[in-house]
Subunit: 138 residues, 6 copies
């Protein structure tokens, strides 16, 4: 099994609902350093898992929908806690959708899995991983 | 599959038995930067894998049983080499026991796997991973 | 010249005024991984620059005044852009004040300089450094 | 499941064939920081996954066949793009061959899997993983 | 004293002349992860050392003159060993020239020093630092 | 001003005397990831600060005098707390002595300063820096 990884980041504001979050119930923020891993059983004709330039560009496109925003104001997340693990899933779903739409090129049909990790500090991170092509998001 | 990770560290002394260990047969020591990964199929009602504050606290509690000690003097390890991989298992077992006892709260029953990694330098590490709930340690 | 360093972090929300900030004019946030370096010409009687436990505790105390907050709502920063470099100075000033008040113990009078670095992502950081004891903040 | 990891690096030159590579079609180079992970169900009699000194030595031996070279001149890679993922496989195959030949000692028969990761920058990496003993390379 | 830092990278091929370089006399290559630090006594009216977006863009422009190239073929370096420390100076000089030409905006006249670090692996790096405005390169 | 850096590590046991050290008064240990920085005003005839291979070898030689040992048993440190900052100075002095004795080659006379940093965990480090040639250790 082959895999490749690319890294980018976002800086967002948000707050959480629920006593379990303690002081994080207040409006605060985070830098998420985002790692995306793409997996494939065999390399394509060029000897790659996928065009890493296209992967980085697709990731940047997805992150632009979140970056420099207060996620509490985003209707897509109404009534949800935008926790690190929840956002890892959001990035996964949005990137999977772009991949399904061809953003990584014709050879990317061979991709079989993806993992999205959001590093929120030097001591904490969260991730979501799943198969590709991903089931459509309800 | 979702996962979250927390990081902490310990500083211990120990020595190893066996020619395979070369100079590490002498009494020496190590800083282990410890990463714990917890896995779960679906998020709980708060949108989290587990309360990361409780996870960090439980890890600190387990590490306190090892930290700032000469492991050669710890009866629990008599006759054993406290190698990095062995200690990863020790941390796994002790943390799994605390999780089973409810240290991560009522929702933590959904956790399905854990991985404990001990980074011993910038060029070497060891890990132990297994399912949760873990089988009781014999 | 000796130095020691300790690391901690905060997660805050804020927005900036000025076209130079582009999308960062919107309410967003950041994780700042904070490194504090303390310098001293000669070690004290215990063979240390300063009690690293007290240094970490003092840093945590200073960071608690900023952590999990929307800095736009903090009167202390009214009319100011709470940029990374500005916040590095804020942490420096508040920590210098605690040091002057004895938070690092009696031997800490020997400290001659401090540097505070705020790492905001894997590709950007800012810092403020100055002499100790620091001139009182106007 | 236990695992251990060791890290080393190589510095090579190469060029790629195919418009998908853009400017990387020109002769350029890379530092690859190489992480090798070895997996095993149970520890051996010494309490280890494998002799980490032998693992580091075997890795160094494999990397010496690539280090400080222009891979475009290496007949073993004629007609192939020596991409990061391709080279991860090369390191995997050559190391698996040494392991099969006994380079990690008699107890290493218990190893069940290996992953080789080549970190090419602070924002990109590729990896190859597979079972041990590996199928002979055609 | 304030400072800010930005990070980018290049991937180049080159070879060295001189027995001191051992196997690095062969054509090989490197990834250089490049850190640029800019220093300033007081913040500008926006509360910044310099527009970090312009700094990153200027750095990318300078690195584009080196990236994905065989430096042995670059006439600018004829008869010189393009060592890590030498290249740190090249980046410094070219970036200083852009800064002097206004690439970082009108307020950047307040910059007093710059340091360029090229990280060539997880265990080695080189840097060049100097005052700003820099003396013209002979 | 040019600088180069090399990294290596040691794993030692020790204990501290003095209530200020709390639980670190017990016999424990540490991994120190050691960074050595060497500074020079102008490059030598080869375009380098110093032969980085010789620098790494000299560092390894110095670290071998400490590695895999219980420093409490080392007569050279009798009556002293082998704190991180103290050990940074020990490495500095021993390396300076080797440099003075020619370990880095004839051109190394141009070196003007050295900094030795011991990273003891992901959240703490200490360093010692001074001019070269260093004054003889009393």
């Amino acid at each position: 099994m082959y895999s490749i990884g690319v890294r980018d980041h976002i800086m967002i504001a948000h707050s959480f609902q629920g006593a379990v979050f303690g002081p994080a119930q207040r409006l605060h923020g985070a830098t998420y350093v985002v790692d995306v891993e793409l997996r494939r059983v065999a390399l394509d004709a060029h000897g790659i898992v996928v065009d890493i330039g296209l992967a980085a560009e697709a990731l940047r496109g997805v992150l632009a929908t979140l970056n420099y925003r207060n996620l509490d104001d985003d209707g897509a997340f109404a009534g949800r806690n935008t926790t690190t693990e929840f956002l890892a899933r959001v990035v996964f779903d949005r990137l999977a959708e772009r991949i399904a739409a061809g953003a990584l090129g014709p050879d990317s049909a061979g991709l079989c899995a993806m993992k999205v990790t959001l590093n929120e500090s030097h001591i904490a991170w969260a991730a979501y991983e799943g198969a590709l092509p991903a089931a459509p998001v309800a």
